[in-house]
Symmetry: C2
């Protein structure tokens, strides 16, 4: 039976209910002997503290909400979640996901704010939340931590990476290898106007511009759902000069492309140096040079940050930017090793 309450345990152990309660919540306030008695009785009766009842008294729910966009939780989202949980769960917090998807759903959520008084902590992960919404969110009076969101406005804390700096790592690697004609492939921003895509694109352009020698850049747009390889080959035709290197917005475009290139005998890095972004699934096994970010760590850092707020010792700097790192593997090579791209692009 799962019906034992503090009263039952108290009776069984021959103590008062407060002693039972204390044995669980602040063991140091109970003599070892008494506690032992209590614990024994509790065990025998399969007693467990009911969180919901405790919440009522303490005002803490030990719940956290993770707000995400309604896209399928991808590589990034799942890892963020895990990182968060890795910190929060041991601290006694349960995290649930609140998908804030289409704008109707979103409107409803922010109007009702169903999490008000039901969570102690709110995390907002990389979705396009307006500042009006954040400010409304802040009315629930619990710490709000952003994970990979653009602005820190009305956020108690945030953890993010510097996308522009990341792509700069990629560009500089290519420039150092001697490449002077570099393309950037990205998903058409009209459909997914996530700021981090924008930052990567701008970071790419900026990094090329800053190089002392002239660097030629080409932009390749991808419609969502469109075949990466076909788009690449098609848009190559209309370029006046062919790039020797290609930066991709993220691994999820680089990997299928790399795959098709291999399949159609276009060698990488022989014909083209290729860089991804994320260091996500398969990047390592496949040998893709890419920019590494660690979503698990983003989540974990966000969790720790949040816990600090709860301790009433507000962290000195609650706005964290994590470093990215370039993982140099087998898809980039010096320009000397690269045959001119136009040798093959036209008749493929």
């Amino acid at each position: 039976m799962s019906k034992a309450s503090v009263y039952d345990v108290a009776r069984e152990a021959g103590v008062s209910i407060s002693t039972v309660s204390r044995s669980f919540t602040s063991p140091e306030k109970v003599s070892a002997k008494t506690r032992a008695k209590v614990m024994k009785a509790a065990e025998a009766m399969n007693f467990t503290v009911t969180h919901t009842a405790a919440s009522l008294k303490t005002g803490r729910t030990f719940r956290a909400a993770l707000l995400v966009g309604n896209e399928r939780l991808d590589w990034f989202g799942s890892l963020v979640r895990e990182g968060l949980d890795s910190i929060l769960h041991p601290a006694g917090y349960d995290t649930s996901i609140y998908p804030i998807g289409d704008s109707e759903e979103q409107e409803h959520f922010f109007a009702e704010l169903p999490i008000r008084r039901n969570v102690d902590l709110v995390f907002v992960s990389s979705f396009d939340i307006t500042s009006k919404e954040t400010s409304r969110l802040s009315s629930i009076n619990v710490p709000i931590i952003g994970i990979n969101v653009e602005s820190n406005h009305d956020l108690d804390g945030s953890v993010k990476i510097d996308d522009a700096k990341g792509i700069q790592l990629a560009v500089n690697h290519l420039l150092t290898l001697g490449h002077r004609n570099i393309a950037y492939m990205h998903i058409s921003p009209k459909s997914s106007l996530h700021f981090s895509s924008l930052n990567r694109l701008q970071g790419f352009l900026e990094a090329c511009r800053q190089w002392p020698e002239p660097v030629k850049t080409e932009l390749i747009k991808l419609q969502p759902g469109q075949d990466v390889f076909s788009s690449f080959i098609s848009q190559l035709q209309s370029m006046e000069s062919r790039p020797t290197a290609l930066c991709c917005q993220d691994d999820s475009v680089a990997i299928p492309l790399l795959f098709k290139l291999n399949r159609f005998r276009l060698t990488v890095p022989g014909n083209l140096s290729l860089v991804g972004f994320d260091d996500s699934t398969y990047a390592d096994k496949i040998g893709l040079t890419t920019i590494r970010q660690d979503p698990f760590d983003l989540g974990a850092k966000a969790g720790s940050l949040a816990l600090e707020f709860l301790k009433k010792t507000p962290p000195k700097n609650p706005y964290i930017t994590l470093d990215t790192q370039i993982m140099i593997r087998n898809t980039t090579a010096p320009i000397e090793d690269t045959r001119p791209l136009d040798k093959w692009a036209c008749n493929s």
Copy 2:
């Protein structure tokens, strides 16, 4: 302020707290006019029902626990979670993950059963739980649903796929294409003795055996972390005859292998037909023939099942097996199109 309670709303609306409560929990028991008043006041004061307080009275926590192994939540796990949430969240349930990892953690969890009286629903997803544990779990007296677990013992319901049947689909496809020498590549079971790997392996063997003509089979073992391609090539050397087709335990071994094969100019399906399992990330974009399962659906079905139990209308058949499907793409071809494997395998 987030402090409005039923009392505040009652005062504001000029009604009793019971009326406020009823307006939210059973609106039909309140006259439309009164309800309107209540709702207006509630809105004005940003009132939201506090779940924890409600739980205390109703005995329902509106929480669910998803027990998983401690491996990183992968493609499968994340999708199961999402599917579960897609049903449970709209029904008012919050799901949190309880990683039951190393055996110490596991022991502690099952000894303490910290979720007792704290969740209304328990899901157990694909990890190796012993029947003793399941039975202990069932002592908490809430519906327990298995997702992709082997035995239904002590489980109120379960949702799974038939792994053996799935791999059979793959084998029969290859046999129909004329292949009579088929290899199976799997991760060494000593490290991950998940039953579904075992079922796939056995299903493979069984399917080959059942074919009216003699079929030669080869088993290729993979140590976790070991390079797939190197293992493949190495073990090929010691085979007396070379397979023309290869079934992989799952896409996560097929994809890197396919990639390396392409890179090293070993054509698929020209030299070898290749089949994966899962239809996971990139399988589609890359054109991998594979067996499709839908973890999202597994989760969703599990969620619906659980909800039925809560309605006190136990579903007639709570043990569901979902179908798998073969996705025929570009990595399999008739035997006539396949050059003998030994033409290239030895000098690569």
